[in-house]
Amino acid sequence: MSENEELNYYILFANYTQGLLLQEILKKDGISARIAPAPRSIQGELSCGMSLLVRQEDIDGVRESIERNHAEYHEIVSLPCQIRPHRNKFC
């Protein structure tokens, strides 16, 4: 991976309900998070097909918000963008 390679940060969940709940929590905390399909390469057997895509600079805030709100999630994973590295749009 090159130094300048852009990373996507995906929050993975056991089900859609966990994901939608966390998106509401993050919205209240002023953190943008877009619902995106969870990439197959990081989904594993335990997470569902939806993920929340968040900005790299928001990751610390996301973790803090999750902890403070006791939000459920499966994992946070970073992944280099495969298609159009500048395509990301956030809510």
């Binding site: 995106a36 399909p37 197959r40 989904q43 097909g49 395509r87």
Partner: protein, 380 residues
């Protein structure tokens, strides 16, 4: 938005369906619970839907049509209702988890399970069904059409094998009901399981089973039936035997309107339009660089209106996300609840992007989807 996820649910419904549900929401009582006018209107609505579906699938009688909330509930009722520990059941690698998971559950309880294998194209060898038959084989459970590749299974041919060996034949028609003709008698289907919200164009939360007369199926649920209140056991008469609790009358009113729409337009015409759109898409993308299409696209055979593909080694979720965010095209990436089919296709890691079509789609939408894939496959 261009909606190409019709194999998951048909989003666009005939206006008659919408109108019927809205009307029902304001007028139906509880079906089979009393004889006042609101209850009777609900009872008649449910009965009309049974009659219409019985004729649609060539069932013995409307009483053999049982309503469930979807195919999954129908399939659970069917397989758990006829199989017992010590029995052997044959199924295929083409199946959805709505078949697989109940069967795995039964396997843990002592039912023996065999799989008819799939080729890399997602097809089955019909002789394999017969090869898997054992002394204790009780049933064959088989999809009519793969939700991943769109390949059809020749249900009549499998039904003849089941009949020859006196096996119960359970068919998952989730992807085909409402689009392909189904005659349960001619195809020797003992239990047909269908959902209302896909090709039948009805509301979500509707579905059912068409059970051969005389076949006793153990109920999955027991409870309120509106009849035989003082009996400690659930009624055994069909269809009450397999229905407990208030039915989804509002949804069934929509399903009834949907089947009327299908009768009026004709499923042959619907199928012709869907096939035209599917082949237009297939021809537009099959030679794009890096595109790999899964399934059997032999033009001499019919198939569900599904084209599933990958682009190079791109993660299918990222491709689907790009199609959604940049082109507003809705597709389904990932595993599609069909784990064994993905294993057979070699797509467990990458998943695949499924495009599935409705006769409500237009040629312009198909061309836009082809253009989007052309851009994605040729971008630097």
């Amino acid at each position: 938005m261009i909606y190409l996820d019709n194999a998951a649910t048909t989003m666009k419904k005939p206006q008659e369906v919408v109108d019927a549900v809205v009307h029902a929401m304001g007028s139906l009582g509880n079906a089979g619970r009393g004889v006042h006018s609101a209850s009777l209107e609900s009872s008649r609505t449910v009965f009309d839907t049974r009659e219409r579906l019985a004729a649609f699938f060539h069932a013995d009688s409307p009483k053999q049509i049982v309503f469930t909330s979807n195919s999954t509930e129908a399939l659970n009722t069917a397989v758990k209702g006829v199989l017992n520990p010590g029995d052997h059941v044959i199924t295929t690698m083409l199946e959805h988890n709505s078949v697989l998971r109940p069967l795995y559950e039964l396997e843990r309880a002592g039912v023996e399970l065999s799989f008819v294998q799939s080729s890399r194209q997602g097809t089955v060898d019909y002789e394999d069904f017969e090869k898997e038959i054992r002394e204790n084989t009780k049933a064959i459970v088989c999809t009519h059409g793969s939700n991943l590749t769109g390949n059809l299974v020749d249900i009549k041919r499998v039904g003849e094998i089941a009949k020859k060996h006196d096996l119960i034949f359970i068919v998952d028609a989730s992807q085909t009901a409402g689009v392909f003709p189904i005659d349960v008698k001619d195809m020797h289907v003992d239990i047909l399981c269908f959902t209302g919200h896909k090709g039948l164009l009805g509301p979500q939360g509707t579905g059912g089973m068409c059970v051969r007369e005389g076949l006793v199926v153990r109920p999955l649920k027991t409870g309120g039936s509106g009849v035989q209140t003082y009996s400690k056991t659930h009624p055994v008469e069909m269809p009450t035997a397999l229905e407990a609790g208030t039915l989804n009358g509002h949804g069934l009113a929509g399903l009834d309107a949907a089947v009327q729409y299908l009768e009026k337009k004709g499923i042959d015409e619907i199928r012709r339009e869907e096939q035209h759109l599917m082949w237009r898409f297939y021809d537009g993308v099959k030679d794009l660089p890096g595109v790999k299409i899964y399934g059997d696209f032999d033009r001499s055979q019919e198939r569900c209106a599904i084209v599933t593909l990958n682009i190079g080694d791109y993660d299918s979720s990222e491709v689907s996300d790009e199609l959604s965010m940049t082109y507003e095209i809705s597709t389904r990436p990932g595993a599609h609840c069909a784990p064994l089919m993905h294993e057979a296709l070699g797509t467990v890691e990458q998943g695949a992007v499924r495009f599935s079509f409705s006769h409500f789609n237009t040629e312009a939408e198909i061309d836009e989807a082809v253009r989007a894939l052309r851009e994605l496959t040729t971008e630097e």
